[in-house]
């Protein structure tokens, strides 16, 4: 039986990846952010997932406005970093787990989550930056990813976005689907995006640390409260692009009685208030991490 061993949530700002790829993470600007990532990397090493389900949104790499899947899953044997306009990141390709992907698709569709299926897809910064935050990168630092991956996309660009409560429920369905997988696999969920930021319009540059702190405080103990916040209010409080936080709720739904074992919050990475959290179920042997 597969086991959901924990979740990590993190912002996925492109410049975080660029800082890693250029080797400038120890510069004055970036050091406080990257120092805060170190314990998360230790945590992920301890979790040692065989497969990581990465919940992210495509930013105009595979998905254009001609067809926008609300939720999608990759079922490919592998995934490469794509060219979003500034060339692919210099990172190794990711190995997929098609059998688990198809299992998740069958289970989720049977549980009334009608996933779009991708048999060929490249991944963008929304996927690769969190992977590097959690596992290291670029090439040279990581020559082979220590985990296989299943990309899970959420539409956070073209309104209507899925409701926050729906995202939480998707996470709960993922948990059940994982536990129904017959093979012994350790599975981690990586929820990405946020925290508060706005990139478009005269309001670009908006951030709201008090909202982010509230979100982090309620994330493990009271996710239902966060799922009740209307999408319009996410845009108001966290910015038009900060509504990406609904993807954290997918990761949260995959845990039961969640415990926060580590968090980091930094203002800012470019225009984005960068947050990170590490979570396990209360009964997990990793619940004592950083205690």
């Amino acid at each position: 039986m597969a086991k959901l061993v924990g979740a990590v949530t993190t912002s996925h700002v492109p410049s975080i990846g660029i800082a890693m790829d250029k080797g400038i993470t120890q510069d004055d600007y970036w050091k406080p952010l990257f120092d805060g990532y170190l314990p998360a990397k230790e945590f992920v090493k301890e979790l040692a997932p065989d497969v990581t389900i990465v919940v992210y949104n495509d930013h105009g790499l595979e998905v254009f406005l001609d067809r926008v899947p609300t939720f999608g899953i990759g079922a490919a044997a592998g995934y490469e970093s794509g060219d979003e306009g500034w060339g692919p990141r210099p990172i190794p390709p990711f190995l997929g787990h098609p059998d688990l992907s198809w299992h998740l698709i069958e289970q989720l569709v049977a549980r009334e989550f009608d996933m779009t299926m991708f048999q060929e897809m490249k991944v963008d910064h929304g996927f690769t930056v969190p992977m590097s935050v959690a596992f290291g990168g670029p090439a040279g630092e990581v020559d082979e990813w220590p985990t296989k991956v299943v990309p899970l996309t959420v539409n956070t660009i073209q309104f209507p976005l899925p409701q926050p409560a729906r995202c939480l429920k998707l996470g709960q369905a993922i948990r059940k689907a994982v536990e129904a997988y017959p093979e012994d696999l350790r599975i981690m969920v990586l929820g990405t995006g946020g925290m508060s930021h706005q990139l478009q319009g005269e309001r670009a540059g908006f951030m709201q640390p008090p909202f982010d702190r509230m979100f982090l405080d309620k994330f493990a103990p009271e996710p239902e409260e966060l799922a009740k916040i209307p999408l319009g209010d996410y845009m108001k409080s966290a910015g038009h692009e900060g509504a990406e936080l609904i993807m954290w709720l997918v990761a949260r739904g995959a845990l039961n009685d969640a415990r926060e074992v580590y968090r980091h919050y930094h203002v800012s990475a470019s225009l984005t208030a960068a947050g990170l959290g590490c979570y396990v179920d209360a009964e997990s042997p990793h619940a004592a991490f950083a205690a």
Partner: protein, 142 residues
């Protein structure tokens, strides 16, 4: 059933009303997505070296290939970021155009705010000043 429909309609209306009440925000809903579709499609095409070279060789003709309107084309040539956003561009597509010039999101943000880069960075840093000290495992309590 009727009650349920009313609730859903009210929720959609409330979300849109909230988003539209935000100054300097352009809710990217279905109506907006269709307004300047050729611009977003042209920008989306800039995800290959070959297309970027074609664009650089003749920006004007490249825009025509995607049916970009004359008004929008002028904004593309001028790299008028706020104009492109106001006219229906989505930042994730429009930013591919910025990437061609090696212009950062901070530059694009500054221009949308009608600020210099330094002024905009000061604005971003202002959020830091309002922030509390970093929370570490040692200080976050249990």
């Amino acid at each position: 059933m009727a009650q349920d429909n009313d609730d859903i309609s009210a929720r959609i209306a409330q979300d849109k009303a909230t988003a539209r009440s935000l100054e300097g925000t352009y809710l990217f809903d279905g109506a907006r997505s269709g307004v300047n579709y050729p611009l977003n499609k042209m920008c989306m095409s800039l995800t290959s070296d070959a297309n970027r070279k074609d664009f650089a060789a003749d920006e004007d003709a490249y825009c025509d290939r995607y049916g970009v309107s004359p008004e929008t084309k002028a904004m593309v040539l001028a790299r008028d970021w706020i104009g492109l956003i106001r006219s229906g561009g989505n930042i994730y597509y429009v930013f591919k155009l910025a990437a061609i010039d090696h212009v950062s999101m901070q530059h694009v943000g500054a221009q949308q705010n009608a600020m210099s880069l330094d002024e905009f960075r000061a604005k971003l840093n202002g959020f830091k000043d309002a922030d509390r000290p970093q929370i570490t495992p040692e200080t976050k309590g249990s």
